[in-house]
């Protein structure tokens, strides 16, 4: 690396960040002034604010490119690069350095927000005034992050001349995994993305925007954002499962909880917004829901960066927690102030006609999502509250959430099954019974089958939850299938198409509704994956050549151990053959690495899903090479048998497919060849 680039890169980066702050501040201040001024004469000002917002994106993008370039050119004069990279770090991980530490991840957050703002400002012609409001709100959030980057967490801080080391400290080994290159961007796209519907909502509130157009405008933004957050959360769970080596995927850690909270309120918003679109109801509720979704995303960041809540994932304690604290207070006060000023414009246009209706199911669904969110928030904060009240900390771990959040989740699953069967306005009990009977029989049959197969709900509350979850998940799946079949039959009757063709047509004709059902189907599949947890088994053994571990129907035989070395790490792995009966299924290579730059060890578990052997009751065979016993020097192997887990990842794929489907525009309806109600006397001379 040349002397010039060593000095110039951090200077360019710092300048780009300052420029971005100036442009962002211009976009916010002048944009606000133009909106206050109103009228034709402010259009010119508003346009300059819009362009400044677009230019902010260019400046933040430049800063991000500079940081990545510094990582790729091993510019260890930049303190951030020294702390999070090293010369032998593979290329993709050097790219991931951008979001691996505090300062870089804030820059990445700012980049994503600027990108969303860029797209929004390009599409301003849809509704220039509403977009101008949304643009100002986004600029305000952008300015906050740019203030942080410039004055509290500067990514281009340089080490003193003469103290520049020859190599960096390296990236945290836990982050050196392919999913870590995509998990944070997905999660951040989700977190940051909720700023857009919030910005439109706040704009609509300030404008006293008539009608539901802002909801239509933000629908796709919200869906896309929700999709990214969902992928981010699941990739995080999969990363924990594949890297941390404890055989689980969700530990109710505060950082995990921080991602779950906005997801819960965001999911509630996706449902309740339909009530506003179709019936002009829940306007106030939707405003607050979208605000809290945005607010919880920021709160999550506050939790993980302030050091206020201890977590194994959390970033080091730093002063930026205070910044986030103030931002949370100011954003809440701002929103509450505008709400108090304009709440009269949010009156519902209709009243609830019946408790057995789609509207009431959405009301309960929203209540349960919000209670679930509150439970997670409460559980996350309770150790701190306990410390303040009685002076000693307590732990709030999985047993708490399993006992409190799981019942709420089961009710939600029940509503997921029943909700789609209810019509808007009101549903007769007879029609509900008619539509619900076969799915209910199917769900009950699955429950009874599980008991016959040996699930004893009275032995452990976890088994009871598993049984309930299986029954309700089956109910959801049968409901979705019955909805497709019922709709398909109607179309088949009208058009003469085959049932399958009719179902396909139905699906294309109302992508949002049927895409939503596919998401529900995916959720049920995920639940099926989770309900295997109480039946997990594990075994641990010091294994020499030829030694065996029996776990469930599988036998693991140690064949050999071997070692390797490369520039980034040295490693040692076991070669283990897996048998079921006398048939060899596979060979697994659990690995243990020692990273050179950081001198940190890392286990790399190997996972074998038994789809080929047990299609539906699939197991994950999960093998960890834990290292060597310090006393005997013998290698220790730990094996887990995790039933049903592969269905979790399969469910995610289905959910994403459903989400993408919801984003596709509806196909045009086809005309019925024989209108059902026009079968009067045949015309004279027609046909035969």
């Amino acid at each position: 690396m040349s002397q010039f680039s060593s000095i110039a890169l951090p200077q360019i980066g710092s300048f780009a960040l300052l420029l971005a702050l100036a442009l962002g501040a211009y976009s916010f201040l002048v944009g606000t002034f133009a909106l206050i001024l109103g009228g034709k004469e402010s259009d010119y000002l508003s346009e300059t604010a819009r362009r400044a917002g677009i230019a902010t994106f260019a400046a933040v993008f430049l800063a991000s490119v500079v940081l990545v370039t510094a990582a790729f050119t091993d510019n260890f004069s930049v303190a951030y690069i020294f702390h999070h990279s090293n010369k032998d770090l593979p290329g993709p991980y050097k790219f991931a350095v951008l979001w691996s530490g505090q300062e870089g991840s804030l820059l990445f957050w700012s980049l994503l927000l600027a990108t969303y703002g860029f797209v929004l400002r390009l599409r301003y012609k849809t509704d220039p005034r509403l977009f101008a409001y949304a643009s100002v709100v986004i600029a305000a959030v952008q300015v906050f992050f740019l203030l942080l980057l410039n004055f509290a967490a500067h990514p281009f801080a340089v080490l003193a001349e003469g103290n520049i080391p020859a190599d960096g400290s390296g990236l945290n080994p836990l982050l050196q995994y392919p999913e870590m290159v995509i998990h944070p961007p997905m999660l951040y796209l989700g977190y940051v993305g909720f700023t857009v519907p919030f910005a439109f909502a706040l704009g609509a509130l300030i404008m006293r925007y008539p009608g539901e157009k802002w909801i239509h405008i933000t629908r796709r933004w919200t869906m896309v954002t929700w999709g990214f957050l969902t992928i981010g959360i699941f990739l995080g769970a999969h990363w924990a499962y594949s890297v941390l080596g404890w055989g689980g995927y969700w530990g109710w850690d505060p950082v995990e909880n921080a991602s779950l909270m906005p997801w819960l309120t965001g999911t509630a918003f996706l449902h309740s917004v339909m009530m506003q679109e179709k019936r002009g109801m829940l306007k106030t509720w939707n405003m607050w829901l979208v605000f809290f979704t945005f607010w919880l995303a920021i709160l999550g960041t506050f939790l993980t960066r302030s050091g206020i809540i201890s977590s194994v994932h959390a970033f080091a304690q730093s002063s930026i927690g205070m910044w986030f604290g103030w931002f949370l207070i100011i954003s809440f006060a701002t929103f509450a102030g505008f709400y108090a000023q304009n709440y009269k414009s949010l009156r519902s246009e209709h009243k609830l006609e019946s408790m057995i209706s789609r509207e009431s199911s959405f009301l309960f669904n929203n209540l349960l999502f919000v209670v679930a969110c509150f439970t997670v928030l409460w559980g996350t904060w309770f150790p701190k509250i306990s410390e303040l009240v009685q002076g000693n900390k307590v732990t709030v771990g999985a047993p708490f959430y399993n006992n409190v959040a799981v019942p709420v989740a089961l009710f939600l699953l029940l509503l997921t099954a029943v909700g789609p069967l209810l019509a808007w306005r009101r549903t007769s009990l007879e029609s509900l019974r008619r539509n619900f009977m076969w799915p209910a029989v199917g769900g009950l049959a699955v429950g009874v089958l599980m008991m016959i197969l040996g699930v004893r709900p009275w032995k452990d509350i976890a088994y009871f939850y598993s049984l309930m979850a299986a029954t309700l998940a089956a109910l959801v799946i049968f409901t979705v299938i019955s909805e497709f079949v019922r709709g398909g039959q109607v179309i088949a009757r009208h058009t003469g198409f085959s049932l399958f063709g009719s179902m396909l047509h139905l699906y294309h004709r109302n992508t949002r509704r049927y895409g939503g059902y596919i998401v529900h189907f995916g959720v049920a599949v995920v639940i099926i994956g989770i309900l295997g947890t109480p039946f997990n088994r594990d075994a641990e053994k010091e294994m020499g050549f030829g030694d065996k571990i029996n776990i469930g129907p599988y036998t693991l035989v140690c064949q050999s151990y071997t070692q390797d070395d490369n520039a980034n790490y040295s490693n040692e792995w076991a070669i283990i053959n897996v048998f079921k009966g006398n048939q060899q299924l596979t060979t697994m290579y659990p690995e243990r690495r020692e990273y050179k730059a950081s001198s940190q060890p890392q286990t790399i578990p190997r996972i074998y899903p038994t789809f080929k052997e047990d299609l539906f009751l699939v197991n994950d065979l999960y093998v960890v090479y834990e290292g060597r016993n310090q006393d005997t020097g013998r290698p220790i192997i730990k094996a887990h048998l995790n039933p049903m887990v592969p269905w979790i990842w399969t469910g995610l794929i289905i959910m994403i497919f459903g989400t993408i489907t919801c984003l596709v525009p509806n196909a045009a309806p086809i005309r019925a060849t024989v209108p059902a109600r026009v079968q009067t006397a045949p015309a004279v001379g027609a046909g035969d």
């Binding site: 609830l352 009301l363 309960f364 209670v371």
Partner: protein, 163 residues
């Protein structure tokens, strides 16, 4: 409208209840399950933030010893409460993976359900206020439909639009 349950459904329900009842009386407990259960209610104190039975650190100074202590307590015949209390005395209150159900810890358990109840109450109030809202006035001479006639029109609309 009165819901009539057909004899077939009644019998199906009774059969399901019978199956549940039969299986209810077949259950037995075991020591291994107690070890797993209590082990999942305790945290490893090595700062890994993991449940005792899930701590996987090679050379962890605590988890093996704590698992041994748990097995010994169960062998002695200590009940679940006594076993957990002995861990609390030795390692402090953070060793328990969930707040206690007594004292201030009880608040942790109550609050989510209190929130659910408060939410339900709020929902009832909202629904009541919606339902008590007057129906918009119609032009002179137009009578709003009621009862079976309204139901008939609704069903017809459903049939003709529900694709």
């Amino acid at each position: 409208m009165k819901l009539t349950i057909k004899p077939f459904l009644k019998r199906t329900g009774q059969f399901a209840l019978l199956v549940v009842a039969v299986f209810t009386f077949l259950g037995v407990g075991d020591e291994d399950a107690r070890f797993r259960d209590i082990g999942h209610h305790l945290m490893c104190v090595c700062s890994c933030g993991q449940v005792l039975l899930e701590c996987n650190h090679v050379g962890c100074q605590y988890s093996d010893r704590m698992r041994g202590e748990l097995a010994a307590a169960l062998d002695r015949g200590d009940n679940d409460d006594l076993t957990i209390q002995s861990f609390v005395q030795k390692y402090g209150p953070t060793v328990v993976a969930a707040p206690s159900t007594s004292g201030f810890g009880r608040v942790a358990w109550i609050m989510p359900f209190a929130a659910l109840l408060a939410g339900m109450a709020g929902l009832v109030l909202i629904v009541r206020s919606w339902r008590s809202r007057p129906t918009p006035a119609l032009a002179d001479g137009i009578q709003p439909l009621q009862g079976p006639e309204l139901e008939r029109f609704r069903e017809q609309a459903d049939k003709e639009t529900d694709l």
